[in-house]
Amino acid sequence: MGLLVLALIAAFVGPYPLSPADALRATLDRVSGEVPPHGSTLDTVLFFVRLPRIAAAMLVGGALAAAGAAYQGLFRNPLVSPDILGVSGGAGLGAVLGIFLSLPVVGIQLLAFLVGLGTVGLVLLIAASVRGREPVLVLVLAGVVVGALAGSAISLLKVLADPYDQLPAITFWLLGSLAAIKLEDLTATVPIAALGLVPLALLRWRVNVLSLGDEEAQALGINAVRLRIVVIAAATLMTASVVAIAGIIGWVGLIMPHMARMIVGPNFDRLLPAAMILGAGYLLLVDTLARTIAAVETPIGILTAFVGAPVFLWLLARGRHGWA
């Protein structure tokens, strides 16, 4: 598919000089088991820096787009992104707290992941304890409020942080970046993201039904409440795990499902894989840009915003045509 071609091209793009011939030789070396003892620098760059980064871009893009597609179906609203229940805000808070406490990188990532999950858990708890006839609305409102709380806490930590070393680190983290991704990050994140993806993939038809509305879903024998919780949990796992390693990268989860919907229609069966592929490709493209557009790396969150915001406005201008 086009994605593989894109990945292949991206492998040769970057500051370190790497030609296709070099790469071929390096691959053959590795496959035949003849890797020089500590790995030549080329070997290290290709297999341990570039390829993981490409894989990470695809993983993050795909996961965010999948979560976005699921949420848009769940909330029956095209303006919904994976952040709506506060997972990004929570993960951001966890990471900022980690930086503030001077934890090592692993600690920061873990804290981001856990607080992200915890935030959504809190939102679900709040929604469950409020009785009303609009469960989805309550969920969204709770998500917005808790997300705002997390945002305030982040701001507070920014004020308390040491402006000379912690604050720049916090700023860069919040802008999102794939520059610091290592192979170990991927090996930790892929299983978790997969764990979130599996239920989503298996429940594709039911999510479709859910987008018809609670009453219709109930009539077709689906427990809307339980299904909603499962979908939210799955999407949150995916989002929290990728935000923990890459920082806050916005717009992918919002825009990519729309693009996918324009191509394959709103049927979640086909929407999910389409959104994932588009999301993976998009983020790969943007990350390659981030690496090459200037001599010094540009945080990826900036670029996704620059591209995402105009597209979003365009979508708004089009109205709700194309949805449903």
């Binding site: 090592p104 920061i108 520059a179 790396e297």
Partner: protein
């Protein structure tokens, strides 16, 4: 609130005996009237606080941010418990003007940028509170003059002259050393910041000023020259730059880098030339970017040019801390301070 502050200022001005005043000219060429005898000084931020602590610690009202527990032993006992008073300008503006007035400073000063923004801030605070506010140019090369200026304002000319002379002598020594070292023999240095060491200061930034002043070639350069501050770089780029020396002040990063697979390809790590800068009571390279960087200058000169500079780091540190920071360091404290300042065997 504003009225209250103004009213309070007027009241204070009326109530205080009309003390003798004199005019001083600050680094931004502003003429400011200051009292003859200045007892209480508010330092507007950490760089100013360092300068004040070095020159005239008895005039300090408090610290902009409280010293951390590990920094306390390196501050003279009388000043360890000073209250936290917040910052007035630059990054991290946290002071409340009423709190400022309550502290009744005779003078506010800032040590750093003298650009228009800061001038207008100084004018505003001065007009609002009636407290004289002077700006001192914090450019590193200007340090001796800055010290003399503050010394003149506070009436501690003798001490100021001593400090300024030390700074000038250090600069002269460094320049003499550099004259003997050709450009291609100078070390290529990378400053590793942040928990993973992937944040750095670009060439020409204030964060790497010391490294460049001592002749180190900062590998992190933006060829187009457009960006000068802090930037994030991927490990790939660092491997490409291949610095022969890495400096950091993050203990976690320092521990991890030796075992980190990705950093093994970097010359500095292979040769054991990764150095952990001390940070107590103030950073030696940065944090804050003030007078405290002078000892960093001496340390790096010894590190980069061991052939030309014959230096006993312990003695240099001990006398510096005595002269500047008013502390007499014990051997144990010195050991802890300089623990990884000389690197580790590969």
């Amino acid at each position: 609130m504003r009225r209250l502050a103004c009213g309070l200022a007027v009241f204070l001005a009326l109530v205080q005996p009309a003390g003798a005043e004199r005019m001083v000219t600050d680094s931004a060429s502003r003429e400011v009237a200051v009292p003859d005898r200045i007892e209480r000084v508010f330092a507007a931020g950490p760089p100013a606080a360092v300068l004040l602590y070095v020159l005239a610690p008895d005039r300090m009202i408090g610290w902009p941010r409280p010293p951390r527990p590990e920094e306390l032993p390196y501050i003279a006992p009388e000043y360890r418990e000073l209250p936290e008073v917040g910052w007035l300008t630059g990054r991290g503006d946290t002071v409340n003007l009423e709190v400022l007035l309550q502290a009744r400073p005779d003078l506010i000063f800032d040590f750093g940028s003298v650009r228009d923004t800061y001038v207008s801030l100084a004018e505003r605070v001065q007009a609002q509170t009636g407290i004289p506010y002077i700006l001192i140019d914090g450019t590193f090369a200007n340090t001796p003059d800055a010290v003399r200026l503050l010394g003149e304002v506070l009436g501690v000319e003798e001490r100021a002259e001593r400090i300024a002379a030390y700074v000038e002598a250090t600069f002269a020594e460094i320049d003499a050393t550099l004259a003997k070292v050709p450009q291609d023999r100078r070390p290529r240095v990378y400053l590793a910041r942040g928990p993973s060491g992937l944040e750095t200061g670009l060439q020409g930034s204030i964060n790497t000023e010391i490294i460049e002043r001592v002749g180190g070639v900062n590998v992190a350069a933006d060829p187009s020259g457009a960006r000068r501050g802090i930037a994030q770089v991927p490990i790939e780029q660092i491997v490409l730059w291949n610095p022969d020396t890495v400096i950091t002040w993050e203990p976690d990063f320092y521990e991890a880098v030796w075992k980190d697979f990705y950093w093994q390809g970097v010359d500095a790590v292979a040769a054991g030339r990764v150095y952990l800068s001390p940070t107590a009571p103030f950073g030696w390279i940065d944090r804050p970017p003030s007078l405290n960087r002078l000892i960093g200058l001496e340390w790096l000169a010894g590190l980069f040019y061991p052939d030309q500079v014959n230096q006993d780091l312990r003695e240099v540190t001990r006398s510096f801390y005595d002269l500047f920071y008013h502390v007499d360091l014990t051997d144990a404290e010195l050991d802890r301070l300089l623990q990884w300042a000389k690197g580790r065997a590969p």
